[in-house]
């Protein structure tokens, strides 16, 4: 014993008294913050980093703000990467309160790494200012061993740098701090939908039954015009239109646009020999086709109602066909907002005496419910998941983030908590809510001045 035994060097009772006084002071003069521990989901070795983190628990705790005359740090700065808030915050929390209150609550959470002390990387939600701070250093020896013990932790915090971490504590005032940050896409979903209807006007003899492509041609930059031989004077000349295909690779290894099909807008009538088909314009060469004529072909398919809410091309059924005839086949064409705008006859049939009826398949009618903030949504066919940032029931636009892939056209997106289901049509805005990103503006401006006549090797966003 080298110290004077007649003096007490920090009795446990004295230490406890000091700790109690500190706890009481913090409860009186502190601020109620939330302590949000990080769960480590995926870490990389070698270049050691935590790739995937989640913040799913928030525990209220009293903390004393070290500098009450404002945040420390450099404040709001303009940089080449946009506006940054370089605010720092010093908070003092009770060691005893952490160990006896927070630790028991978080120690059994999987992937928590360490529960015995506040740890760097965890978040603090600071209510004055509604901000998320990340603990960058925990000072545990200040003040220095009063009565041979330390009673507080000093947390040196900086504003959180957000990427794609999941913040889902269940406390809205905490979770909404990252509602407008990160890479957010706006998806156009389908709200109400209605079925398109159409009718067939008449049947004709000597009409074009079908047009058969004998050579797709190549190098078309626009859809070529389809010319069909005139019908004799008593008849009606058929009208056709081509559609293109661009993913077939030529023998030279290049992909160019080619003619995919020719559908009939009007099969015509009165032909006695099959008309010739020629392709003109479109910038390409080589497309060729032949035609076949028949008696009893269907007439024009007239759209009586275009419907709405189609995410994928509906099927067209031609019904009330007499037995023993070759039935007609037709294909629907959609515009960009999901309305049937044209019906092309691929095969006008043979042997009709009366016009059959047409039924167009219905769009998905099960578009119901409202998505809720921070729930995960999943696509029915791609199994892509994402987190909801917001949902606008008027425009049927869903903002999502942290998607693990891309949604496919026409799949149903289901909310995990809300149970809302809507059909997906397309991405309408990338970088929604991001005041910094100019990607789309740059791409739009570049479209008119950059000549990527082959293709943009960097992709077109």
């Amino acid at each position: 014993m080298v110290l004077n035994p007649y003096f007490q060097q920090g009795a446990t009772t004295e230490q406890n008294l000091v700790q109690d006084l500190i706890n009481e002071q913090l409860k009186m003069y502190g601020v109620e913050v939330y302590y949000i521990p990080r769960t480590y989901i995926t870490s990389k070795t070698v270049i050691k980093e935590v790739i995937e983190s989640k913040f799913e628990n928030a525990i209220p705790l009293e903390a004393y703000v070290d500098t009450y005359d404002g945040y420390e740090g450099q404040g709001v700065l303009m940089s080449k990467f946009g506006v940054q808030g370089l605010h720092d915050l010093g908070l003092i929390i009770s060691k005893d309160r952490f160990e006896n209150y927070i630790t028991p609550l978080i120690k059994n959470i999987p992937n928590i790494k360490l529960a015995t002390r506040p740890k760097e990387g965890d978040l603090i939600w600071f209510p004055l200012g509604d901000r998320l701070f990340e603990i960058k250093f925990v000072e545990h020896e200040k003040p220095f061993y009063q009565l041979q013990k330390n009673y507080v932790y000093e947390l040196r915090c900086e504003l959180f740098r957000y990427e794609d971490e999941v913040v889902d504590t269940g406390i809205d005032t905490v979770d909404d701090n990252v509602q407008e940050y990160g890479y957010i896409e706006t998806l156009q979903l389908i709200g109400s939908a209605s079925t398109a209807t159409a009718s067939i006007i008449g049947v004709h003899d000597g009409g074009v039954r079908s047009i058969y492509i004998s050579d797709r041609g190549h190098n078309y930059s626009n859809v070529p015009r389809v010319a069909i031989s005139s019908a004799p004077s008593s008849g009606v000349t058929a009208v056709g239109f081509a559609t293109m295909i661009s993913f077939i690779v030529d023998c030279n290894g290049e992909k160019t646009s080619k003619v995919q099909t020719v559908d009939l807008a009007n099969p015509g009538s009165g032909y006695t020999v099959a008309p010739s088909i020629a392709f003109h314009g479109g910038g390409g060469v080589g497309a060729a086709a032949t035609s076949g004529i028949a008696d009893g072909v269907i007439g024009i398919v007239s759209i009586t109602a275009g419907g709405s809410g189609y995410a994928t091309i509906p099927t067209i059924s031609i019904e009330n066909n007499p037995t023993g005839i070759n039935t007609a086949v037709a294909i629907a064409y959609l515009n960009t907002v999901g309305i049937v705008t044209q019906i092309g006859i691929r095969d006008a049939g043979v042997g009709y005496t009366v016009a059959p009826s047409v039924t167009i398949s219905s769009p998905n009618m099960g578009n119901v419910g409202d998505y809720i903030f921070n729930e995960t949504v999943v696509g029915s066919s791609s199994s892509t998941t994402a987190r909801v940032k917001s949902w606008d029931a008027t425009t049927n636009q869903l903002e999502v983030s942290i998607a693990n892939g891309t949604f496919t056209d026409g799949e149903i997106i289901t909310g995990s908590e809300s149970g809302a289901t809507h059909q997906y049509r397309k991405v309408v805005v990338e970088f929604a809510k991001d005041g910094f990103a100019e990607n789309t503006s740059i791409e739009n401006a570049a479209d008119s001045i950059i000549d990527f006549s082959q293709s943009n090797p960097f992709g077109m966003p």
């Binding site: 808030g85 990427e163 794609d164 990252v178 990160g182 970088f431 910094f436 990607n439």
Partner: protein, 332 residues
């Protein structure tokens, strides 16, 4: 200095440069290599008005996080004259005016300049940074050439090589815990662009519509008599918007040389007719049968269907030939 002109050359080069990097993605995978998150990297031109940045990026004052990462920013850092690409200062070139091809524009050869660019990448994780950089570097060997429409009035497209000159990596992870880790890579590029002077669209020069060549026999005399003179004027090889004079009365394949039309009365022999996009020379006419030469003046002999309109190519069409059009000659 002398007149107002502005081709937005630098703006176009900046947009062109930026468009190369606006679709870079990052994926995060878990231990089983399943993708858990994909995000596109925001890109913006760095320099901007401070008030605008504050309004757009911090509209409600309380920015609840410091910044969202990753981010990329680029800016033009300088421009230097490039003597290695110097061209003759007095030489001009003529080109059609894009909006009105009957007009000719005269422009002096451009001045070559190198624009220096800096692309900065700021990420939260090293893993993100490596993904971004690896998506950029393979395309620059060390140059990537981009075709930019630098002068829109004349549609002057130039190949602009963008050369990657250097990369600076910065990862401030050392030091006390009060300083932040900043993971920033800076990639420097040089874009070899051109500055064009004013485009003179009111030039008096016109398309040459007649060429005459005179041959002189004998020595040099003060006033030689031309022995022979050849003169040619351009002849239209297509009908510029004429209405059809008749229609085809049969389907015509690509090799047929006797074509039947519905009514040959509006067609004269030894003239050209125009069907779809094919120029056809009429050698003789018998009733409604035309004996023809197909695919004249480089047009392609194609299939034409019954009922297709037949147009005459007339002298009026010769006047409508535009700059850049193909044309034939009327003969000697």
């Amino acid at each position: 200095m002398f007149e107002y002109f502005y081709h937005e050359i630098m703006r176009r080069t900046i947009i062109g440069f930026g468009s190369l990097f606006n679709n870079i993605k990052i994926e995060h995978t878990n231990e089983t290599d399943t993708t858990v998150s994909t995000l596109k990297v925001p890109l913006a031109y760095g320099p901007t008005q401070k008030f605008l940045a504050r309004l757009e990026q911090q509209p409600d004052l309380n920015k609840s996080v410091q910044i969202s990462l990753p981010r990329m920013s680029f800016e033009m850092t300088g421009l230097n004259y490039d003597p290695s690409r110097k061209s003759t200062t007095t030489q001009t070139f003529l080109s059609p005016v894009k909006a009105d091809k009957k007009k000719i524009a005269k422009t002096y050869l451009p001045v070559p300049y190198n624009l220096d660019f800096e692309l900065s990448v700021f990420t939260k994780l090293n893993d993100d940074m490596l993904q971004v950089v690896e998506q950029i570097l393979p395309y620059f060997q060390p140059a990537y050439t981009m075709t930019v429409d630098l002068v829109s009035t004349i549609g002057e497209k130039r190949d602009i090589p963008i050369i990657l000159t250097s990369i600076t990596t910065s990862d401030d992870y050392e030091g006390d815990f009060s300083t932040r880790r900043a993971l920033v890579y800076t990639i420097r590029f040089t874009a070899k662009t051109y500055f064009f002077g004013p485009v003179q669209t009111d030039t008096t020069k016109d398309i040459i519509k007649k060429v005459t060549v005179g041959y002189v026999a004998g020595g040099r005399t003060p006033a030689p008599d031309r022995e022979m003179s050849y003169s040619v004027v351009p002849r239209a090889t297509r009908a510029y918007g004429d209405t059809p004079v008749t229609t085809l009365a049969e389907d015509v394949d690509a090799t047929e040389t006797i074509i039947t039309v519905a009514d040959a009365s509006g067609i004269t022999k030894d003239t050209y007719i125009y069907v779809d996009t094919e120029e056809i020379y009429v050698e003789s006419i018998q009733n409604n049968d035309l004996t023809v030469r197909r695919g004249e003046d480089g047009s392609t002999a194609a299939i034409h269907v019954l009922g297709t309109g037949v147009k005459n190519i007339t002298a009026a069409d010769n006047e409508l030939i535009e700059f850049g059009d193909n044309f034939g000659f009327d003969g000697f």
